[in-house]
Every structure is written in structure tokens, then in C-alpha cells.
Chain length 422, copies 2
């Protein structure tokens, strides 16, 4: 899509038309935040800002979009003219990507004329929600990975191609070694990895022939998939082939009792002199399984992390909202039960104790405060006013935050971090 | 993206290069199926075929894609030439969209030369998985909706823009009245709906003024959002405004104790002479809540169904695989524990009893069988050979299948349908 103007909900545009008709074009601030963390999350990882800024630039209405809107019979010509000229000219305040964040902290704050910022709602939530959901899930595997490598194998079961591509980006910043997803590799420069599928093993007359063939095609890259027929038998074949000079660099286990199999396979490989051959495990892998296997001493070197991470299966969504907090300098709150909001543009101040995060305070933007300020102005009058960090820089930033995370937040058990709203 | 060639996993291409190097270019059949239904699904709804066929046409490799692949240093010039010429020329067999389907039934079967069909794996799974996941979730709300209207309000929390757009499509075929998603409206001709957000209410000096303003802007469309401050108070204002001639057509409740509020609001509206004003409920709506509220007699006319449906929160993925089942006319199976496959290209035959589905049999394709045949050949030599149904036709087809579903499968309780694999 060239123009993203229709990537919005109908009501954003009906509201905007009505705002214009009633002169409600004063300066407004909307805040994107998560009301409450899911049960299985101790913190979130901010992710998706760069994608959002690209999309806001493409949030325009061309002939095709306007023709469709006209056909709905709801919009005035004046309003369609407004949309034809639409181009975001306001301010964006954001917590940079790759930061540890919590409930009620404004990830993104958008300021501009009311209709201008209202109609971005759907795009802002959709874009930042996806990558924040995925990064916040992926980082949990990293936290329990004990130095093993993690690779995103999830593309096939992501919710669409786009979701798979951005999930590769989101997981890379959380410490994944790379992805199997080639489009993500090309687009973001993320390292790509892969082995072979069962189908490859099955089309050769024997498993052994398949192993030989793949090693011949990719001599530096022969990771043998062991579980098509009998995993331990296949491990013995790998040893035999290595003795004949076939360059085996790794083996992959994709099914079965991984605890028993990984230990048995390691023993077979070691006894066969293949101490350097890595064991890669895939198939239903998530942070709970990684922690379980590693705590039982399973000799696994790398994990292909797939479906459960790429759909964030245990918490597939966040209670993320984009709410009006200020209009013409006045505080705006709603008082709906369970959905109350806090007024005004905000800064998040982080306080440390002994090198460890101690608590955060969410204060009015511009107030004199102690602590590390997380929110920065990234767009002014519609133009980017900071140099956005590259992926490696975002990743390093998150690694620094993880260093400073209180120990109990780095586990898979629920712990609350203190966020004070002032 | 113009060319979708990189929307695949690295290993698909390394395997394909190795197949070509070892003369493994015989005819292969891959089958896309779901091994096991999730705990909360009695059946699935086939969805995504049309999107898949469009994407397979775009699965090509241009200069940009080839330059990236060359840069990886893994691929031979011969193989890159193969990719440059790549264009799918094989056969596709599919169960049409909008059919009720079950475990082990081949949704899509792709036949062609081995490398040609192998490299489509990621694209095939990703595309059909998303829409089948969503349609199979959405239909559950329809089954318990008792004639109320359902509207997709989920775009903002979908896993990406693409996921939101296709989810609107997938839910429309399951009986949703429409969507709030304008891009889906434009692209698929789905009816679009919307009301107003809390922000709209909050920027006016009073709730009443906001109600008046919106009704003035959209006289035929004034659905008043009641829960920004005090829901019952707002309902009384709606009555008052209607008495003054403001054309109120509906009210929306987005938070609070919906059971109590919907009954109280109905009473207030009825007593105020607004018997025709519809009550629309949104906010955390899913099939469980719809069934619960309606079973308690809540006077709700329509639901905005959002986050939980658009992420299929209780079953965000299916155990869907694309497996080699036949190569050069010979059966192919893997015997991995829990992941065993059934060989050969297949037909699904459905047997009815007294107008109700009785059981399905999955037989070899081309065998003489009784029963309704679900699988049809849709692509031959790379070209579409059937006229694909439009969305309305797909929707009607699903409605017919729902008519014929055994009663117990139409509930939210788990029931198994018999699928015999021959």
C-alpha cells in the first residue's frame, strides 16, 4: 500500500469530520500506554517506533482512498479536501525502542490539532502493539537461555507475512541470534539461519543418503535433522558419516522426548568424537520449555523458537490504549470503571539503586524531576528531530536495561515493579 | 512488496538448491492440514485460498531479491538463475473457502516439481493459517449470537495491518455484519460501521453537547457512547435529547457491568419512548461473554467484537503443517512421535444423515467414493481453472455448512467429529 490513510477505523474519520464542523481543532495530546501487564509478563519491551514513524509519513489519502470514502456517502466534500491535504505536522514524544517499560507508562504521545492526532489512533496502536507484544514475549526466552542461541523459526505461523517480518525484528532486539525469515533478513540486515525439513530427508532413498547429499551441497553448514524416522539411529549415522569425512556441524531434534533424546544424542556424538557438533532443538519451544530443559542439564546449544513466541501465545495482546489526555492545555480524563485514565503529557523518570532499577515515576512532562528521563521528543512539526538508533544499538540498549533489571523480574515468576503516577 | 520470493524461510531455498544439485526434481505433493484441533474448537472454517492464489502469482524473485540472496554467499549462480525464472507451474487442490473442516483434512495440496513446491511452504502455511485461525474463532461468536449483529472492531489490536485487514475478511464470511476497518471495506467491499470514541465526548464542554454535536454531524447515524463518565446518567441525557428532536439511533456501552447496565439502559430508553434505539456493546467481547449475556436476557442488539477475536486469544495458532505426502508417485510418511503423517494426495468425503453431517472420510484422491467431495482442483499448470467464489458466495456456503453441522458442534462445549482416514 502506498497510502495508508484507510488503515484506520471508520469512526476516526467521522469524529474528525465532526471535530472540524464544530471548530474542535485545538491542540490535543493522545497517549499510548498499557493499562495493566498480562499475568505472564513482568515488564514490556518498547518496540515499533521506527516502523510507526515510517507509517505516519505514509498516512495520506490519494485519489483511490478518497473515491472509496466518497462512495460511503458519509463525508462532506470539505472533509475529503481536508484528508487530501492531510500530512502529519505535529509532535511525537516517545520512549525509544529497546527499553524496559511498565504499566501506565506512555510509550508514544502524539500532539497536534485534534482531528490530526485522532485519526492516527488505529495506526499507532496496531503498529506499536504488535512489536511490543512480540518483543515482550521473545525477551523471556532470552532471559532463561543461559547463553544458548535462539533463532526465530516462527514465520509460517505468524499472523500474516507482515507480522512475521516485524516479529523477526522485535525478537532480534531482545537477543535472538537471528531468524529463518529471508525478507526480514533483507529488510533489517538480521542474520539468517536454517537447516533442512523432514521432506528433504524423505525424498532420498535413505536417511544416510539425504545426510550425505546435504553436506555435499552445503559443506560448511551441514546441520542434520535427526527425527524423521528414529532419532538415535540417525545420530549414529551422523557419527559414521563424520568418520568418513563428511563435515557435520550440527544436528536438529524437532520432536519426541527432548530431555532424553538430547542427552542420548550428546552421548552418541561425544563417544563418536563429535564433541563440537551442536545440538539444535525446535518444535513447540518456548521460554517454559527452555528453562525446563536447561535446568535439567539438557546439552542443548541452540533453540529454534517458533509458533508460541511469534503469536505470543500465552498473552497474544496487551491492554494497550491511545487516549486523549490533554486538550487546549486542559487535563482530560475518563472515569469509566476499570478504564480510568491519567491526564496530561507525561515524562517517565526511572530511579536506580545500586545499579538496579528501583522504581519509576510518571510525572507531568516538563516538570523538574530527578531520575533518568525515558521520554524524548522525536518529531517536531512533523519532522524527525533525532537520529533513530539502528537495530544493533536498540539491542544494546535493551541489554543494558536487562543488566539493570531487578533479579526477580528476570524470572518467569510474576513480580510487580513499582510505578508511581504523580 | 511486488515480489514475494523472500517471504520464505532460508531452509526452503537451501533445500531447493540441493534438490536441483542431486536431480531431485520429480513430481511431489505437499499437503496442508491441521493435525489436531485446539481444545476450544469443534471445527475449523477454511479461509484464505483466494489470498494464497494471488500471492503464489507474486512469488517471484527480481533483481533486489536475487542480490540479497547472492550476498548471503550460500547460493550457486545456477540456483539464482533458477529462482529468476521461477513461476509456479504446478497444480493446486483445495477445499474451497467457507467450508467446515476438521483435523487431518487437506485444506490445500500443492503438486509440482519438488523444488517448485517445497519453496512455497512458508507462504502457504502463513497465508491459510492466519485466515483459518480467525474465521474459526469468529464463527463461534456467530454461533451464539442469536440474531444480534456482530461487527469487527479489532483492527487496532490485530497482529499488524495485514492481519487486521484479512481478519475483517475472515470474520465477514462467518456471518459478521461488517467491520470498522476502512481498508478492508475498500478492498473487499465489506460494509463498514463505527460510532465515536471517548475522546470525542471528552473534548466538548459537556457530554450533552458532544451528543448534540455528533447527531448534528451524522443525523442518520447518531450512536451515543454512554460510558465516558456515568452510563445511566448518559442514557437519561439520550432520552432528553430525543425528546428535543435529536435523532438518536443507538447507544454504545464499552465498560462496566454490562449485564446490569444493558438492562437499566434499556429500561431508561424504553420508558423514554426510545424502544427502537439499539444497544451496542463493545470492550472485551468474545463468544463466552456474548453467550453469557444473552443467556441472562441482556437486551443487547449488536456487539463490537475486538481484541480477543482478532488475535484468536484462546487459540492463537493451529497445529498446521505442510507435509510431503507423495514423491514420484510413491507414498511419503514421517514417523516422528506425535507428528506422523498420512501418505498420498487425498480427497475428503463427507457423509450426511438426515440433513446433518455424520462423518468424513479422507481417502486417496481419484478413488471411487460415496459422499460429498470437498477437495477440488483449482490450479492446473499454474493457471486458475475454476471461477473463485466472491465473499458473499463464500459466506452463503458457510451458512449452509453451519445448517448441517451436528447440534453439539455448534456449542462452545468440546465435541469431537468423526474423521476416518482410509
Amino acid at each position: 500500500m502506498k497510502n495508508l490513510g484507510l488503515c484506520t477505523d471508520l469512526y476516526e474519520l467521522t469524529m474528525a469530520q465532526s471535530y472540524l464542523e464544530h471548530g474542535k481543532t485545538g491542540r490535543a495530546v493522545f497517549s499510548l500506554f498499557v493499562r495493566k501487564l498480562p499475568e505472564n509478563r513482568n515488564f514490556l519491551v518498547s518496540c515499533g517506533l521506527e516502523t510507526l514513524l515510517e507509517r505516519i509519513e505514509s498516512f495520506r489519502f490519494g485519489d483511490e482512498e478518497l473515491r472509496y470514502l466518497k462512495s460511503l456517502g458519509k463525508f462532506s466534500d470539505d472533509f475529503l479536501d481536508y484528508l487530501r491535504e492531510y500530512e502529519f505536522k505535529g509532535e511525537i514524544y516517545a520512549i525509544p525502542e529497546g527499553r524496559v517499560v511498565f504499566q501506565n507508562e506512555p510509550l508514544i504521545q502524539v500532539e497536534g490539532s485534534l482531528p490530526e492526532v485522532q485519526i492516527l489512533e488505529t495506526l499507532v496502536i496496531n503498529t506499536v502493539h504488535l512489536q511490543t507484544v512480540i518483543a515482550s514475549k521473545a525477551v523471556r526466552s532470552f532471559l532463561v537461555s543461559q547463553g544458548t542461541s535462539l533463532v526465530d523459526f516462527g514465520f509460517r505461523r505468524a499472523h500474516g507475512l507482515e507480522s512475521g517480518i516485524y516479529a523477526a525484528r522485535a525478537s532480534y532486539i531482545t537477543g535472538f541470534a537471528g531468524t529463518s525469515n529471508l525478507e526480514a533478513g533483507r529488510r533489517f540486515g538480521i542474520p539468517v539461519f536454517g537447516t533442512v525439513a523432514h521432506s528433504y530427508i524423505m525424498v532420498f532413498d535413505s536417511e544416510e543418503e539425504a545426510f550425505r547429499a546435504f553436506a555435499k551441497s552445503f559443506p560448511g553448514n551441514a546441520v542434520l535433522l535427526l527425527d524423521t524416522y528414529d532419532t538415535l539411529e540417525a545420530a549414529r549415522k551422523a557419527v559414521q558419516l563424520a568418520k568418513e569425512g563428511v563435515p557435520v556441524v550440527g544436528v536438529r531434534l524437532d520432536s519426541g522426548d527432548i530431555e532424553t533424546l538430547s542427552k542420548e544424542v550428546r552421548r552418541i556424538l561425544d563417544e563418536g568424537g563429535l564433541k563440537n557438533v551442536r545440538i539444535i532443538v525446535s518444535g513447540g519451544v518456548d521460554e517454559y520449555k527452555i528453562e525446563g530443559w536447561l535446568s535439567k542439564g539438557c546439552p542443548i546449544d541452540a533453540f529454534g523458537v517458533g509458533t508460541k513466541f511469534i503469536t505470543s501465545a500465552d498473552a497474544p495482546y496487551l491492554d494497550m490504549a491511545y487516549k486523549l489526555v490533554e486538550y487546549e492545555g486542559k487535563p482530560k480524563v475518563k472515569t469509566s470503571p476499570g478504564k480510568a485514565t491519567f491526564p496530561f503529557k507525561r515524562q517517565v523518570c526511572r530511579f536506580y539503586s545500586g545499579g538496579s532499577m528501583e522504581h519509576d515515576e510518571v510525572v507531568r512532562y516538563g516538570e523538574e524531576v530527578e531520575g533518568e528521563k525515558l521520554v524524548e521528543k522525536v518529531v517536531e512539526n512533523g519532522s524527525l528531530k533525532v537520529k533513530l538508533p539502528g537495530l544493533e544499538e536498540i539491542r544494546e540498549s535493551l541489554m543494558e536495561d536487562i543488566e539493570r533489571l531487578p533479579k526477580e523480574l528476570k524470572t518467569l515468576k510474576k513480580h510487580e515493579y513499582r510505578v508511581i503516577i504523580k
